[in-house]
Subunit: 345 residues, 2 copies
DNA sequence: CTGTTAGCGCGTTCAG
DNA sequence: CTGAACGCGCTAACAG
């Protein structure tokens, strides 16, 4: 039984009475072809419903025009934004995005990376879990450039684009301190994430600046699920010396915190002040509107795309190995959006 | 200048003193290989950092294990959810997702579809703009199965999985009617979208059931941007005979409506009742919590994935053409989540 | 149990 | 300006 088949460049060449090379050239505009033969080729192609195969092309060009984008969860608005930003920067160039949600699991991350490697994507953009990944070495060996966004890898395997998270933690905390708060809790995820470490560092830095001993720090580590943040908040706020202000270090935490307030009928900002991380349109619609730290996502993306494309270009250039100068790190300042969820004490 | 190169199956074969076929077979577990040679192959591969090339493999197997997912906007939570749902249904099988945001533009949709066709994806899952797309014919000609989700194409080119939108419109409207509302406006996008047509149809159906003449219908057509919804709402509510209830037919509309209420200091539900489409976690956190129509997204996705995989399987089977029995349409019921944004009149 | 060989569909020389 | 021929990395079919 014959397999279904699809018209190839050879079919078109035969149909148009030219060579396959000619067909290739008219489709790629890679050299002059007389108008008449060009037309003949196009006609033949149209008649046969011919479409060049990117697969076959990739095999010889060693370029797939595919970019792997690895994030924790496509559904998290922060990462959706990144994906969208990256897509906007790439689609005009004919690049496709292969998206992967790791769910913060190093194993899943490794699995996806292996897949991307075997697919021979032109480049990888990743918000890594931060775990040691032997596969990073392989990817490097295969000359597939990686660009890291938002979260740092354990070792430098490529340029890094991130929000200045120390500054972000500092900004949020200082803001609350200036309002007179002294018992400020910060809800954070596992400290193996570079973002968490930095934000907590900024938090402590602000505390220190206000002469608050390290013991004053209330760093609450919770699992990255809304339920966990919910529980933690409840526990925290019914404590005797409950904090007067809360910093939720990401979208999921914020959701958990707000749910807890609502459930326990704790008023904001009367009973507790809140600073959220990850600004979203609906924060504005809450009562009170939520003060938040905004990442400069658009800028992060455009820089990341730029660096990735540059790296992709170069990776096809050098004969042997590039100087592999130390990879650059770009840090963009976060923005504190003041709204109504914090009150002076 | 020699191009950078990467170990191939031949290198491994040479290194292990076996044939390429054997290497292939140990990597694919496609026939028995003696433990000793298998080990030799694996060792050689490890030594060389060998990774099979999915490109080369695809060329001969005519399978890419890639699925194109085409939606209006990856950033819209409704579509993010779909992407996530589809990813969950596919990643274990080694399939990759290529995501595409059309921004509701038929041209961009066509562009992406051409790209996916040339990439020879195994299948396409699409929430189409609904425009006539000649490329659909080509895709069909190339035996790439398509599955439509959420929105109908102009002609049937594949199975269709959707929320019962007539029911959705009906449900929302009847709910408000039962509360005593008689002046109910519905904010909808361009009526070329199948979802919009159906929802409005359900809306009118409910109206009719309550003996309301067709003139009582207040269908407000707005561009699918928050700003447009905002403007429309403002205009609508400062009218003399303003509606007492509003139905926002998607996430963007909801954002616009809520912003308008906030800006104009119109209270909900005292001054106006609201039913939103697309349920999201934060709706619960608003004051008042928003009553909403929820799509059964997880179910939509799992059915869509199932149908797609079946179609992909079959597309490699038949010799010539399948009976192409009429494509099935699956309609899942929407759910009305009652919260506090509607009040009896 | 393993090896040989012929494509897969295209880009790219390099003669004509 | 055109076309023949080779190679890309791998799998499938057949031999042994």
């Amino acid at each position: 039984m014959r397999r279904k088949s699809v018209p190839t460049i050879r079919d078109v060449a035969r149909e148009a009475n030219v060579s396959t090379a000619t067909v290739s050239h008219v489709f790629n505009n890679t050299r002059w072809v007389s108008p008449s033969t060009r037309q003949a080729v196009l006609d033949a192609a149209a008649r046969l419903n011919y479409r060049p195969s990117a697969i076959a092309r990739s095999l010889t060009t060693r370029r797939t025009h595919a970019i792997g984008v690895v994030v924790a969860d496509v559904l998290n608005p922060f990462f959706s934004s990144i994906i969208r930003g990256v897509e906007d920067g790439l689609w005009r160039q004919g690049h496709s995005l292969i998206v992967c949600s790791t769910d913060e699991q190093p194993d899943k991350e490794a699995y996806y990376l292996r897949l991307l490697l075997e697919r021979r994507v032109d480049g990888i953009l990743i918000a890594t879990t931060g775990a040691d990944q032997p596969i990073f070495d392989e990817i490097q060996y295969h000359h597939i450039p990686m660009v890291f966004i938002d979260r740092r890898p354990s070792e430098p395997y490529g340029p890094m684009i991130e929000t200045d998270n120390v500054q972000a933690g500092y900004l949020a905390t200082r803001y609350l301190l200036q309002l007179g708060h002294r018992r400020i809790a910060i809800l954070a995820r596992r400290p193996s994430l570079s973002t968490v470490v930095s934000r907590v560092q900024g938090y402590k830095q602000a505390l220190a600046e206000f002469q608050l001993a390290n013991e004053a720090a209330m760093v609450v580590t919770v699992n990255p699920r809304q339920e966990a943040a919910f529980q933690a908040t409840c526990r925290l706020l019914q404590d005797d010396d409950a904090p007067t202000a809360l910093i939720a270090t990401n979208h999921i935490m914020t959701l958990g915190v707000l749910t807890a307030l609502k459930t326990a009928k704790i008023r904001c900002p009367e009973d507790v002040s809140i600073v959220a991380f990850d600004d979203l349109p609906w924060l504005e619609l809450l009562a009170p509107p939520l003060t938040a730290i905004r990442h400069p996502i658009a800028e992060l993306c455009s820089i990341a795309v730029e660096m990735l494309l540059k790296a992709v270009d170069e990776s096809s250039g050098e004969g042997q190995e590039s100087a592999t100068a130390a990879f650059p790190t770009v840090m963009l300042p976060p923005i504190l959006i003041e709204r109504g969820s914090c009150r002076p004490l």
